[in-house]
Every structure is written in C-alpha cells, then in structure tokens.
C-alpha cells in the first residue's frame, strides 16, 4: 500500500486554510491527525488532490470554559481530551468516551475534530457529545457559524460542512444534567471499533427523570437520538425496570446492519442492554 500523489499545504491561518479549500473546488481534504485519512488514502478509498494540514493553527488546540460553556478545539488529540483537567472537572464522561477509543498510539495522534468530521457511523465521540447537547463551530468562506453537532452527520463519511468549511471546535453548553456516560461494546479491550455505542445524559429531579438524551452509535448510518426511548423516561421514577423499558424502545428505534463485527439482530439486542446500563450508570454515578 502506498499513498497516491497529492499536493500538501500547511497554512498559518484559518483564512488561508479556507481559501486553499475553496480554490481546490472540493478536491482537497483537511488533515489533522490523519489516523483515518491516511489509511483510507493508502487503501485507495480516498484520493484527494491536495491535503490542507491544520498543524500550524495553534488556536485549535484550546480547551477552556467560558460563558458559552466548555470549548474544545478541533485539533485537541484524544489523549489530550482524556488528560485535560478542565474536562475532568466538567464532563469526565467525554474523557471516558475518548479513553475507550483505538489504542494509546492512535489516541496520541488522532484528533477530536477528525473523529467527528470522518462521520464514521461507529465513531465513539459523537454519541457523548450529542447527548450533552454539543454544538460545533465551523469557519468557512461565509465566516463562522455554530450549529448542533447532531446536524453535522448526513451519512457514512458525509457531513453538512459546506465546501471550504473547517471544523474549529465543539461547544458543550452549560447545563444542569445530573449525569452522562458513554458505553461501548467492542470485540476486544483495545483497538476495536464499536459494535454498539450508547451515550446517555439524564437530568433528575429527586427520584424522577426530568430530561434524558440517549444517543446510539454504530446502529444506523449516523449517530442518532433515540427520542422515543427518552420519552418513556420523562416524569417517571427511575428504576432498573424503567431503564430496561427504555432499552427495549431504543432497540426498536435503531436501524442496524449486519457486518463483520456483528449481525443486526445482535446489535439490536445490545442496544437494549447498553441503553439500560448507560442510563443506570449516568443516574447513579454522574458524569463518568
């Protein structure tokens, strides 16, 4: 396997990066960690004419809190997510999701932004971020804009980014969520893609569920909110039986396929199990 020929740019500003992408008329791709892109290029699945590297855009490495909530720059690596004191102090469940990804070597290189814009159905970060109501910030020829992360994904490998747009970061808004978590079922303990990934974020009022968001990964073309499952919880006292009921609804909502990692039937049942387990964990343990 060998990389095809391509031009390579490493601009110093976001504006230059956007201009390079616009000029390429869709033939260029952005590269950050490259852990997904390089493999696909070597396999001949992608053959961009140019790569625009974000490596000189240091502003995209920021992790911080402000009035809008928690901001995470798109170039933050997975290990930086895991080890960030800011994330540990706010939503350790994001670090927890990142820690279940790939292996240590890849977590040193792969970036948060890359994990989102690759739009892989089994990606591990989208479910927890969507569960936490995260929004994405992008910059492009028309300037900056911000929209819900759940609107980013159109299908496997396809996003709603306009030509020339670059993902610059994710904003997790301030919220009163009681707990959140992401549970992944992979076929070994490291270096395995999710067969099923379930994130849950719940807001409790005493023993009663006030709000809940359940996001399913790897069981549809895009990560998606299991809205019906969440609705079964509203205003009801949280019990294991209730979580199981939500799990059954989530299982009926998902649209899994059969592939080398598992049959659709298996995935559907795993959605039930992990929806229940993630709800219980979020309710009882907080943001983990």
């Amino acid at each position: 396997m060998y990389l095809p020929d391509f031009a390579y740019y490493a601009p110093d500003t976001k504006e230059e990066a956007v201009e390079l992408l616009v000029r390429s008329r869709g033939t260029a791709r952005v590269i950050a960690g490259g852990t997904d892109l390089m493999v696909k290029m070597k396999q001949g699945l992608l053959s961009p004419e140019a790569l625009v590297s974000l490596k000189n855009l240091d502003g995209l490495k920021e992790i911080g809190t402000g009035s809008g909530g928690l901001f995470i720059g798109s170039r933050v690596t997975l290990n930086e997510l895991i080890n960030s004191p800011v994330i540990q102090a706010t939503y350790p469940s994001i670090a927890g999701a990142a820690h279940q990804m790939a292996n240590n070597q890849i977590r040193h290189t792969g970036t948060m932004g890359g994990n989102l814009v690759s739009a892989v159905p089994s990606a591990d970060l989208p479910p927890i971020f969507i569960a936490l109501n995260a929004r994405v910030r992008v910059t492009g020829p028309a300037g900056e804009r911000e929209f819900p992360l759940s609107d980013l994904f159109l299908g496997p490998g396809r996003t709603s980014l306009a030509p020339g747009e670059i993902l610059t970061g994710v904003v997790v808004p301030e919220q009163k969520t009681t707990g959140s978590t992401y549970l992944k079922f992979g076929l070994r303990r490291s270096g395995a893609l999710a067969v099923v990934g379930v994130a849950a974020a719940v807001t409790m009022e005493g023993p009663t569920v006030k709000d809940a968001r359940i996001v399913l990964g790897a069981v549809a073309p895009v990560p998606f909110l299991a809205g019906e499952a969440a609705k079964t919880l509203y205003g009801r006292e949280f019990t294991t039986e209730l979580a199981e009921e939500a799990g059954r609804v989530a299982a009926s909502e998902c649209r899994p396929i059969s592939d080398i990692r598992g049959s659709a039937e298996y995935r559907r049942d795993l959605v039930r199990v992990f929806t229940r387990r993630s709800l219980e964990k979020a309710v009882r343990e907080g943001h983990v």
Binding site: M1, Y2, N103, F185, L187, R188, R189, S190, G191, A192, L193, I260, R261, G262, S263, Y266, D269, L270, V273
Partner: protein
C-alpha cells in the same frame, strides 16, 4: 534435579539489547548499494483464466528496471511438500485465489513500484470459483487443479485395531461434530527478502524459519547447486509456521536480481501476508468414541474434512497431523481416521503453531466432556482414567518415553482449586479443563534426505576468552540462540557470558532444518551438546598434558579446570584453550544429530513421529456476560511436562505466547471472506489478535518424572507449541460449565455465546 551451572537458569537473551535498542536489523531494514525494490502483482479474482498480460506501459515508467511474468521464470512447479508440487512462481494459465501471483516489478523506489504495478494490464476470463470445502468434492464442481480430480488434495484412511468392534463392546457411544476456523499466524514482522544473483551465485537474506529449505527449493527451482545458493536469516520477528517455505518474494526476487544485476528487496504488506497465508486450515471434524462404564475410551473414530485453499503448502502434513496427534494423550487402542483435504479457490493453508493438532484437540476435549457428562463423571476424572502412561506406544505407533500427563492433571486440579470451584461457582462463572501433547521435533524431514537433522560447530577463539557457536538453528524470536549458547557453555564447562553465536546462514553455519515442529531445543541441542563435549574433551586432554595427569582425573565447569577427586582448581579454561591453539591449532568441536528410526510402516506413518513428546493440562476459569455473550477469562492454570528446562524465563515466555495465540484462536481470530473469495479482514484492525489488555492472569507450573526424558539432551522436550493446543477446548469447556451452552464451532465469539444463550432461553420457555 542434577546439578547444572549454565542451563536451568534465566540467562538474559543474547540478542535482547540489540532488539530493545532497535539496533537489530530485520530483512526489510537491510540496505545494499544499488538495491532495487520489488513487488508482486496479484490476482483480483478467486478463479480466472489469464488471457493476456501487457507489461509494456509498466516497463516504460521511469525508474522501472524490470517487469517479469511467467514467461520470464522457470516453469518448474514447487511447494514445501514434495508429495504435491503444485505452485508456480507466476500463474501460467489461470489464477486460483485472490492474491495469486501474476507478475512482478523491480524499480528504484517503492513509490515507482506501486505505480508500475497499476500499469500492468492483465486480461482475465472469470471462472466459477470453489469456495466451500464441503461441496468442493461434488461432481460438476469447478476444478482448481486439473491434476487433482474432485479437488481432492489429500485423502487419508487409517485404521488401527478395530474401532467397529470397540463400539460394539462399548457401554456408551457418542458422535459429535465441530468446526475449526481459518486463522492466520500474523507475525508482527512482515515477510521480506533481499536477493542478489551475481557471478552464478544467488544470495538471499530472508525472514525465514528455515534457511535450509529455502536453499534447497531455490536451488531446485533455478537448477543451481546448493552450494551456489546462500540463504541468510537476519533477525526475524516471528514466524509461527508461516515462514517455513519460500514465497514469491524469494523466487521472483531472485529472477529480478538476475535480470537487473542488482540486489532486489521484496516485501509483503500486511494484507498481502494474509493473502499469502499458509495459516491454520478450516476444518470440519466428526468424532465418535466408545467408552466403558468407567469412562475408559475403547475406540475413537475421527472423520474430518479440511479446506486446503488453492495450493498444498505444508497441508499434506497438516492433514495427517490432524488425526495422528489425537491418540497421544489417551491410552486407547482402536483408532480410525478418515480425512479429505480439498482444494478451494482461497489462500493456501499450512502449518500454524501446533500444526494440525489444536482444532482436533478442541473437538476431542469438548467431546470427552460431553461423554463425561453422559456418564456423570467429573471432566478431570475421565481424563485421569484415560491419561497416557510413560513408556507406551500409541495405536499409530508413536513411542512415548516420558509422560507425566497424570501429574499435569493432578497439579492443574490442585493449583486451580478445581475441586472447590467445580459446581460451586456463582452464576456466569465456569471452569474447564483440556489437555494436549506435541512433538519435540519431527521424526523425519520435510523432503526425503539422509542428512542429519542438526549440526553444530563450536570454535574457541584463539586467546581462549570466548567461544563461538556456529549453528544452522534459527532464532525467530523464541530464543534458540540464547538457549543453545547456554547448552554449549554447559557442555564445554564454560560460561554463557563468554559465548558468541553465528547462526542460520547456509554458508557459514552447519546444516540444520530450522525452526518448526518445536524441534530445536532437542535436536539442535543434541548437536550443540556433542560439539561442546568435543571441545571439553580436547581441552581436558591439553590440561592433562600440561599437568602431567590422566585426563579422566580432570573436569571443567564455568571455565575452571579442576581435579575431580579433590575439587581443587588446577587451571583455567582460557589459558589452556590459548595453549591448545599455540600447540595443536584451532580448538574446534563438532556435533550432529539424527533421530533414531521412528514410527510404523503404514502410509503416512512418519507424520507425528518424534523422539519425545511434551504433555500439558490447562484449566481456565471464565466469566460470561449473560446479556452480551462477552467472555472474560478470570484465570488460566497451565501445567507442562516439557522435560528439563534450559532457561526458565524464556520457557515462561513461550507458554505465555502460545497461550496468547491459543486464546486469540479460541475467541477472536478468524479470516473472513466475501462471496467472491476476497478477504474482508486482512488487517490488524478487524483480524483481532488479542492485545496485552486481553491477556488473563496465567499461573504456570512444570512437572517432572523421576527419570529425565532419555531422547533429549539433558532430558529436554518441547514447549513452544504445546501450550497452544489445549486452550480452545479448555475455553469451550469452561463456557459450557458457566452457561450450559456447547459451542461447536470456533471461534467461540461473543455473538455465538449470545445466540446460544438466547436459543437456550427460548427452548426452556
């Protein structure tokens, strides 16, 4: 235990520093002046006629120095098994699997090679493919090779004693069917070879388990004298059976070097390694046994079909091994074995750690547990009833000397807490047992020859401060260089720290068949021991002359020559060795080893013969997630009868490594194909080897008989493959104990556990 100075100790690996610092050079790291880079173009179709190959565009690409096809190479077919030479350097008339060799390019750099491969135009006429071994033998199926009707590559029908009578006499007869999956060895180092053909001599640096077989087959293919072919093994990053035979890299690389007059480095990418394969066969196994009221096996019938893939590789031996190894562990007398190894349009299978033994062993160990359940017996009890005794002969005429299987079972029972745990574990937890046995070297070489199996030379360096061991034995990471230096030092009465080694180079080291069939510690060890003893005898004779005493009054240990009677030190190794060189010339010892004549006279009697056999028992405890089917291994207890230990820490590493591979094959690993015969997971992401995080806690122990194994130097036996063999059956039995589900096919994947639990719940409802 006898008193040893150098063996029996965990000496540091002789190449440890070079490997840890990255200084060690593997075949793919080597660079030579003017070296070209070469690659092979492979078939995209499982079965297709080649109508034409146009290399003209590739040849015109700047930087390309040679493009070759079948027209440029010898027509002679080759293969590691002389019984079936069925492979060409490049396909001539048709391609037989996705990945079959079609052409090759040599160019100035890797980038150009890959571009040139894309410029070769091959016109194919696709043919219907044979992908299912169960229907491959039916009438009207496409033929993979015209020479082998009904796609039968190997057919075995063996009958020892009278199985039918045994079943008639039996209290209980039971038949079960199992399936073993295709796996691949996945050595971490990809195959590489650098070939240089100049002045009528071919030199190849290769990532190989056997320079000798490479030398033999390269010489044969190109009509060269063996003396004009030199094969050198640099550092090797694992083989596990997959690097025992020369590949297209050596054959095509040799031709490319001859045509260009330059060294050519050839290599496989990871997915090309999967396509070249030579890994474990998929196997369909039916077992019938008859037992008496006490669970004693009266007869066993094994009826198997193997998916061989498109070529023979070492598969004839794999097919024989599959049956031959079954009677080793249990002392029954009536045994029948039927086997068809069939061709399919899939990558060729061969020898993988444990060779043909692990999957049939999985089948037999599961089967025996089911028999035990029918009889209301404890699984360890039924194995104790049947366990082979020392100094016995199997129905297929393997002579077993030392055998401590009973002690292995008893020790494993005690260490694992079997008696307390069996039947008393909490829900979802279970405990299982399985046994195994393996050869300590094959009794016969792969092709017919009267060469000794191993030879060694020790040369004490002229100033007497060090000695160099020259051996054809092949260290592929398992540590044979270290172990053999320990053995040489022990035999000479010298120290390990003073040993140097030159190994696995057909021109500078004496002949040895290489690293396979767990043979080197015993076979190469004998040659080294004899060479070392010859050095010692000469040294003591020199010392005796200097001291004017009889040589028989002296001995030498750890470099000190002493009077045996009084124990008084008289001289040291170094000064006497130096004097020897001055007075008598080089101080050199040599040794060789050939096993005694082994085995019976029936067809296939040679496969499975060995001077000595190891025995092992494994107990594992698993925890099953009843909702997801996930299997967590809480602990593994491995007890081995592997004879005298040369290096305890390397032995532990072998047990752990073998168990790791066995675990991977038990639960995670399987090569998967689509309906066109294309590999769907030829990468380390989706072909899931276990990771360090998946490794369970392993407790291992050794057992020894009262008498050391007479067939091994100092009583050594094998360990490298033996610990792979029980694992699959052991896990399957533990899963049954935990959940009451019997998984009859490998791998024992989480989804299969989930599905079986679901079906069980539905049945119970």
């Amino acid at each position: 235990m006898p008193d040893f100075d150098v063996i029996g100790r965990s000496k540091p690996k002789i190449d440890g520093r070079a490997k840890v610092t990255g200084e060690a050079k593997y075949a793919g790291d080597l660079k030579f002046p003017n070296m070209l880079v070469g690659k092979i173009l492979t078939s995209p179709h499982a079965h297709a006629r080649i109508l034409g190959i146009d290399t003209s565009e590739a040849g015109k690409l700047p930087g390309v120095k040679a493009v070759i096809t079948h027209a440029d190479v010898p027509e002679l077919k080759y293969g590691i098994s002389p019984a079936r030479w069925d492979e060409n350097i490049f396909c001539r008339d048709k391609v037989r699997f996705v990945g079959d060799k079609v052409a090759a390019v040599a160019a100035l750099d890797e980038e150009t090679v890959y571009k040139a491969l894309r410029l070769i135009r091959v016109e194919y006429e696709e043919l219907p493919a044979v992908l299912d071994p169960l229907t491959a033998m039916n009438d009207g199926q496409p033929q993979v090779h015209d020479e082998y009707p009904r796609n039968i590559n190997t057919e075995i029908h063996q009958h020892f004693g009278d199985v039918d009578q045994a079943f008639k006499d039996a209290y209980h007869v039971r038949t079960d069917r199992f399936v073993g999956q295709r796996t691949y060895q996945c050595p971490i180092e990809p195959h590489s070879a650098v070939s240089m053909w100049a002045d009528g001599k071919l030199t190849v640096y290769s990532s190989t388990q056997s320079p000798h077989y490479f030398q033999y087959y390269l010489a044969r293919e190109f009509g060269l004298a063996m003396g004009d072919v030199r094969v050198i093994k640099p550092f090797v990053g694992g083989g596990f059976g997959g690097k025992l035979e020369p590949t297209g890299l050596e054959f095509a690389g040799a031709v490319l070097s001859r045509l260009t007059g330059r060294p050519v480095r050839m290599f496989y990418d990871r997915h090309e390694m999967f396509a070249h394969n030579r890994g474990r066969h998929r196997q369909y196994m039916e077992l019938t046994s008859g037992v008496d009221r006490d669970g004693r096996i009266l007869g066993l019938y094994a009826n198997f079909i193997m998916d061989g893939g498109a070529y023979t590789s070492l598969g004839v031996a794999s097919a024989y091994y599959a049956g031959a190894m079954l009677p080793l562990t249990y002392g029954f007398e009536n045994f029948k074995f039927d086997m068809y190894r069939v061709y399919t349009n899939l990558p060729a299978c061969g020898a993988q750690r444990g060779h043909g033994a692990p999957q049939p062993r999985y089948a037999l160990e599961c089967h025996l547990d089911m028999v035990a359940k029918d009889l209301g017996m404890d699984p360890i009890q039924i194995r104790l009833v049947n366990a082979r005794r020392p100094n016995t002969v199997t129905p297929n005429e393997f002579r077993v000397n030392s055998c401590e299987l009973t002690a292995c079972l008893e020790k494993a029972r005690e260490m694992s807490g079997w008696d307390e745990k069996k039947g008393n574990l909490p829900p979802g937890r279970g405990i299982g047992v399985a046994v195994g046995s393996f050869v300590s070297g094959a009794g016969y070489p792969i092709y017919r020859t009267d060469l000794p199996h191993a030879a060694a030379v020790v040369r004490v360096n002229e100033d007497g401060t060090s000695a160099t061991l020259y051996t054809g034995a092949v260290d592929i990471g398992q540590g044979s260089d270290t172990v053999l230096c320990q053995m040489a030092a022990e035999a000479m009465g010298f120290t390990y720290e003073s040993m140097k080694i030159v190994a696995a180079d057909t021109e500078t080291t004496p002949h040895d068949f290489g690293a396979y069939a767990s043979r080197q510690t015993l076979m190469s060890g004998w040659a080294v021991k004899r060479a070392g003893e010859e050095v010692k005898a000469q040294l003591l004779s020199m010392a005796a002359e200097l001291l004017d005493v009889d040589a028989s009054t002296l001995d030498c240990r750890l470099g000190v020559i002493f009077d045996v009677a009084s124990g008084t030190a008289r001289l040291n190794f170094t000064e006497v060795a130096r004097t020897f060189f001055v007075k008598r010339g080089p101080l050199v010892g040599k040794g060789s080893y050939a096993p005694p004549k082994l085995g019976g006279k029936f067809k296939g009697a040679a496969v499975g013969t060995s001077p000595a056999y190891s025995f092992a028992t494994q107990v594992s405890e698993v925890e099953i997630d009843a909702e997801t089917g996930e299997i967590k291994v809480a602990g593994v207890w491995d007890v081995h009868d592997c004879g005298t230990v040369i290096n305890p820490s390397l032995l532990s590493a072998q047990v752990h490594g073998a168990l790791f591979m066995g675990m991977g094959e038990s639960v995670w690993e399987q090569v998967v194909f689509d309906d066109k015969g294309k590999i769907m997971n030829g990468n380390l992401g989706e072909y899931r080897l276990p990771t360090a995080l998946d490794m369970p806690k392993v407790t291992s122990a050794l057992v020894h008989g009262e008498e050391p194994e007479p067939a091994g130097p100092w009583g050594v036996k094998e360990v490298g493959e033996g610990a792979t063999i029980p694992t699959m059956g052991c896990y399957a039995n533990a899963i049954y104990d935990a959940m009451g589900i019997r998984l009859d096919s490998l791998p024992l994947s989480y989804e299969k556990v989930w599905k079986a639990l679901k079906e069980k719940r539905e049945q119970e409802r």
